[in-house]
């Protein structure tokens, strides 16, 4: 923010003519314009247009019935139960998946940070799941958990463990298990990579000093690694939390929201409103709710981020 004010300050007390400052500002404006235009076009306009739509009765298969209905779509959202249950499910998924993926990602990052033979290969290999399109990895895990031909039930049976005949997608909690596993497999590498980058910028001197002061492995981790890693942790968490809250693809592929409606999240309900019902008014209202929640999550993280750095 400070940088924006500097051009004027640089001109100093000379200030030969207002024209020079004016030209500088026009130059700055000209260079910034493409960014601003692009942002308005791809973010500002759709958001505003969607907000506008959310106050309309706008069903594409009913041409000629568009009309302003005020908050009716929002009232329907609250009254129909399309919001509360999916919101609880989405929050549950977000908390569990982000926690799981964070712990696993931190573990991976710590391992990859150590020096060992073939480290470069491991670092590259870890990224592979993240490079697989979610629809593909979703299908993959759906097949893995298939009771007849899948690897999971076969493996449980071979090891004489319970659950070898589980029809995973037949139950609510087992369905969530499949979704969480598929999501963690795909997204843990992303967290690991960001955390690894965070680990690499911690100066070795700090560890050396702590070692001289007599700190053991655990104390070094607690008092050196964790505090120094905090910015990376927050960046990783903010990205993952937001994308977990908008979860759609894994669920669409693996359960289709089933069994029954047990794994329908807010984005799933939103997809249905837009693309099954072609109801852009009601779908718009759900989108606005999702946007507000995402904004709130981002604000909370940014507040934490500012306090800590």
């Amino acid at each position: 923010m400070g940088a924006a004010a500097s051009p004027e300050a640089e001109l100093g007390p000379v200030r030969p003519a207002a024209g020079r400052a004016f030209r500088r500002w026009t130059m700055a404006g000209a260079f910034l314009a493409p960014t601003i235009v692009l942002l308005v076009a791809i973010a500002g306009f759709p958001l505003a247009y969607n907000l506008y739509n959310s106050f309309l009765h706008l069903v594409l298969t009913e041409p000629g019935t568009e009309r302003f209905v005020g908050l009716a779509n929002y009232r329907q959202l609250v009254a129909s139960g399309d919001f509360l249950q999916p919101f609880i499910r989405t929050s549950f998924f977000t908390l569990v998946s982000v926690a799981l993926e964070f712990v696993a990602g931190l573990g991976l990052a710590l391992i990859m940070h150590r020096r060992f033979w073939g480290r470069g290969l491991v670092r590259a290999a870890v990224l592979v799941p993240w490079a697989v399109p979610t629809v593909v990895s979703g299908m993959l895990w759906k097949n893995m958990f298939d009771p007849g031909s899948g690897f999971v039930d076969w493996g449980l049976g071979a090891l004489h463990l319970p659950g070898a005949t589980t029809a995973w997608l037949n139950g609510v909690w087992t369905s969530w298990t499949v979704i969480l596993v598929a999501d963690a497999w795909k997204n843990t590498p992303f967290l690991a990579l960001i955390l690894l980058a965070g680990l690499q910028v911690i100066p070795d001197d700090l560890y050396e000093q702590a070692r001289i002061d007599g700190a053991g492995v655990l104390r070094r981790f607690r008092h050196v690694t964790l505090p120094m890693l905090k910015p990376a942790v927050l960046v990783a968490l903010i990205f993952r939390t937001l994308s977990a809250f908008l979860i759609f693809d894994v669920i669409y592929v693996i359960t289709g929201g089933g069994p029954g409606s047990a794994t329908e999240t807010l984005s799933y309900v939103n997809w249905r409103a837009f693309l099954v019902e072609t109801n852009f008014g009601y779908g718009g209202a759900i989108s606005v709710a999702l946007t507000l929640i995402a904004l709130l999550i981002a604000l909370v993280y940014m507040r934490v981020l500012r306090l800590e750095t």
Partner: protein, 415 residues
């Protein structure tokens, strides 16, 4: 200022080019150009290309070109609705899944076809229903599809004549043949397929998918039957609640199932050399002891864009596609069963004998509710049927909840 003027000139030039490009389609000289929107993959795509080429050769005054739609029904639907909403005058002739015409008709996107005086007696009655909205015909059947029950002729002595007999025979086959892991395979996943599976079974109990009678006692009986197959009779594994047609197909073609619910294309695959069920395949409508059997109607219709500039040429092309000889060509080349009854001839049977058996299933086809809000109705049914099959609610509760939500949908849309 200079910049502004140049920009204006460029914009003007660009828009003139654009207008010229748009205008060129509307010329009066030369052959009339129409666009046919259809799926373009595999044998079906090849059959369509050949039909179009033959038609163009035989009709020098009309030139048909193909607009390829996505092979996935949902995506194709979105491709089409985008064009309709944008008010495009092409494509002229459109391939429409049997569950779409009511929505298209209500939106005013497709042409009523009454003025062309189609000879309706040529087609299977059930499929004509799918193209009729508020008493007017909007769609011509192109090829028919229907869902029935496959059974192993080497293991099942006589095809079942009642739902209960099907269960008993499945149990008997499973206990005497350890290689048969699945007594009755059907698709119970939360998607369109669970609705058609339910519709097939409804015929066995005298039920119906009439949106105002979803929670009828007959329907509850049918859903209870499906649920009992899994948890009480143990002839269907719990995994059926996540099975789609392709999973059922795998069970059947690998020879692991005694009975399997599926569409006619499986017949062709079963009879292929090297198939585990070659020469052991029979196909019937889901048996009924109380009412008349029903089989869920699938397949495609042909419709005309309401904004088409050349409806007469479009109609001529539709007539060509639904002529018996072209229908037989497609049936043999692409495995799409003819929608025209008179195409079921010795010429067809000699090359694909299973079409003889398939006719019995096509004669009892029943469309899913012909309603402009069918997509919403289907979503509700998919969720509730799957909830009952996965034991989250009872069949009574599931259908009562479905009825309540469907009433809301039908009432909300004003028709």
């Amino acid at each position: 200022m200079v910049v502004t003027r140049r920009l204006a000139a460029a914009l003007l030039g660009g828009s003139m080019l654009f207008l010229a490009a748009c205008g060129s389609g509307g010329g009066t000289s030369g052959p009339v150009s129409i666009v046919f929107a259809t799926q373009g993959l595999g044998a079906e795509g090849d059959a369509s290309k050949k039909a179009v080429a033959d038609f163009n050769k035989a009709n020098p005054g009309i030139h048909v070109s193909i607009l390829t739609l996505s092979p996935t029904a949902n995506n194709a639907y979105q491709q089409l609705t985008q064009r309709f909403i944008a008010g495009s005058d092409t494509p002229d002739v459109i391939t429409s899944d049997v569950i779409w015409p009511a929505t298209f008709a209500k939106s005013g996107w497709i042409l009523p076809l009454d003025r062309f005086h189609l000879n309706t007696g040529d087609f299977f009655a059930g499929q004509l229903k799918s193209g009729t909205y508020q008493g007017k015909l909007y769609a011509v059947p192109w090829f028919i599809n229907a869902e029935g029950v496959y059974y192993r002729t080497d293991l099942v002595s006589s095809p079942p004549t009642s739902p209960q007999q099907l269960v008993q025979e499945a149990k008997a086959v499973m206990s005497s043949n350890p290689s048969i892991k699945t007594g009755f395979a059907f698709e119970g996943a939360k998607y369109e397929g669970v609705v058609t599976a339910f519709l097939n079974v409804l015929g066995g109990f005298g039920g119906s998918l009439d949106p105002s009678k979803i929670d009828s006692p007959e329907n509850v009986q049918a859903l209870t039957y499906l649920k009992n197959l899994i948890y009480q009779d143990h002839v269907s594994p719990p995994a059926v609640t996540s099975w789609q047609e392709s999973n059922v197909q795998d069970q059947w073609l690998s020879g692991q199932a005694a009975f399997a619910m599926n569409w006619p294309y499986i017949f062709q695959l079963s009879e292929k050399a090297g198939s585990a069920v070659q020469g052991k395949t029979g196909w019937i409508p889901f048996p009924s002891s109380t009412g008349t059997p029903m089989s869920a109607l699938g397949g495609d219709d042909l419709v005309i864009n309401a904004r088409s500039k050349h409806p007469d040429a479009a109609w001529k092309f539709i007539q060509y596609l639904t002529s018996p000889s072209v229908q037989i060509q497609r049936a043999i080349g692409a495995g799409d069963p003819p929608a025209v009854k008179s195409a079921y001839t010795q010429q067809l049977y000699s090359q694909a004998p299973y079409y003889r058996q398939e006719q019995a299933v096509f004669n009892v086809v029943e469309p899913r509710p012909v309603s402009p809000v069918y997509p919403q109705i289907s979503e509700v049914l998919q969720t509730q049927l799957n909830a009952a099959l996965t034991n989250q609610t009872s069949p009574e509760q599931a259908l009562a909840a479905a009825q309540q939500q469907i009433n809301g949908i039908v009432h909300g849309s004003g028709g």
